[in-house]
Amino acid sequence: MNEKLKELEKQYNEVPIPKELDFVVKNALRQGKKKKKRSLQWLLGSAAAAAMLFTAGLNVSPAMARTLSEIPLVGSVVKVLTWIEYEVAEDTYDATIKVPSIENLENKDLSKTLNEKYRSEGKALYDSFIDEVSDLKENGGGHVGVDSGYDIKTDNDQILSIGRYIVNTVGSSSTVMHYDTIDKQNEILITLPMLFKDDSYIKTISENIIEQMHEQAAADSDKVYWVKGGSLPDEEVIDGFTTIKAEQQFYISDKGKLVISFDKYEVAPGYMGIVEFEIPTEVLKNDLVSSKYIH
């Protein structure tokens, strides 16, 4: 090869490889696998069809939807089903939107409120995706994808925590999580503020999270958080984490711990994905109204 080209190739190859690359690659491979398993039953059905597919679930064929997506919940009557699934599978446009539905709550107002919210948000997401695709098509095409669905975080005698995620892929992907936590015995929706006596919980939790961010970053150099006083030099932290929102996304774990969740890019670089912090109950005990949910 020509000398100049060789020199250029050398320069090209000399770009330093960040140590996080390993972690990022492994993480992406793992998440990719997980995602594929989750959507496999749908893939089987949809791979053959190239054009737009519209898979209607529960509302068209209740029996089939129930057998496919009912989540077996031992010893509880409240169920989460897939109400409807929107699917688009074209070459560069992908969408999978799974809308959950909470069934068998005695409190019909609560289930109606939640389910209507889920359905209208799911429909809106699908509509905006279709708009975006037709926009792109007019402008010469591109890649765009959306993957939305839900995870049951906790389901025990007392608590049902359901997390709905939206992953948008336009170049870089962004992920947003929304949680709803229900007290199954009293059939009420639990909000973060109602767990605490007053709003001093915001400060308590924020301080604990900053502490955890520092500890994690010190213990593992792959972990990076946008927070001052940590592994990154302060001047590189622009708009770093200082406090949670009063209505920060959260859920209650099976063991009765409070878990605070942040969306991708909210407090850390993209490769960290969604980040969660379990807040030790010990730290919260002075602020909690009771130890009923969190213990």
């Binding site: 690659v25 992406a28 496999l40 170049g171 870089s172 993209g270």
Partner: protein, 172 residues
């Protein structure tokens, strides 16, 4: 059945990615010029690839297939973050003579960086990543003749004489 491909290919894919991850990073970096963004591009490319492994016809074409995903992801990323003005071919043609003058005296130190992206990517893929010109054209979604002329122009801007360059380009 396409889904079967996904299983068959997955093992090969995971191994390929693990072995070649640094190459992908370098390619992503040549677009984003920024460590964090390049990592994001690598991550998204892998995830996208995993989801569409079933569309990969045969394992032999995995390399150019995956490079295509990386290139598209990187370009989408730049587009989304508005750090790049996307120009259509006509405009590019129109602007090219002027650019030629500007880039005539590129010193070798930053030569590659200063090359317009459309030329840089052809050089990187063909010479540094050892891809055939036909594959480069496929990856960049351009015609073979366009790929060829971009390569010639890039070499000209870099003041590299064609007869010094390895076989394939010179003889095609």
């Amino acid at each position: 059945m396409k889904t079967r491909n996904a299983f068959k290919h997955e093992e090969v894919f995971v191994q390929y990615i693990c072995e070649q991850k640094e190459r992908f990073y370098l390619l992503a970096y040549s677009y984003t010029k920024n460590e964090q963004d390049a990592l994001d591009v690598v991550q998204d490319s892998i995830q996208k690839a995993m989801l569409s492994l079933d569309r990969l016809e045969n394992v032999e074409s995995m390399k150019s297939w995956f490079y295509k995903i990386v290139v598209r992801t990187a370009i989408d990323f730049l587009r989304k973050h508005k750090r790049l003005q996307v120009t259509d071919d006509d405009t590019l043609q129109y602007l090219t003579p002027a650019q030629e003058d500007v880039y005539e005296n590129i010193d070798l130190e930053h030569a590659l960086d200063e090359l317009p992206q459309t030329y840089r990517e052809v050089v990187i893929l063909h010479f540094f990543e050892d891809l055939k010109l036909a594959d480069v054209a496929n990856i960049l979604n351009i015609k073979m003749s366009t790929a060829k002329s971009r390569l010639y122009r890039a070499l000209k801007l870099l003041k590299i004489h064609l007869h010094d360059v390895k076989g394939e380009t010179a003889h095609e």
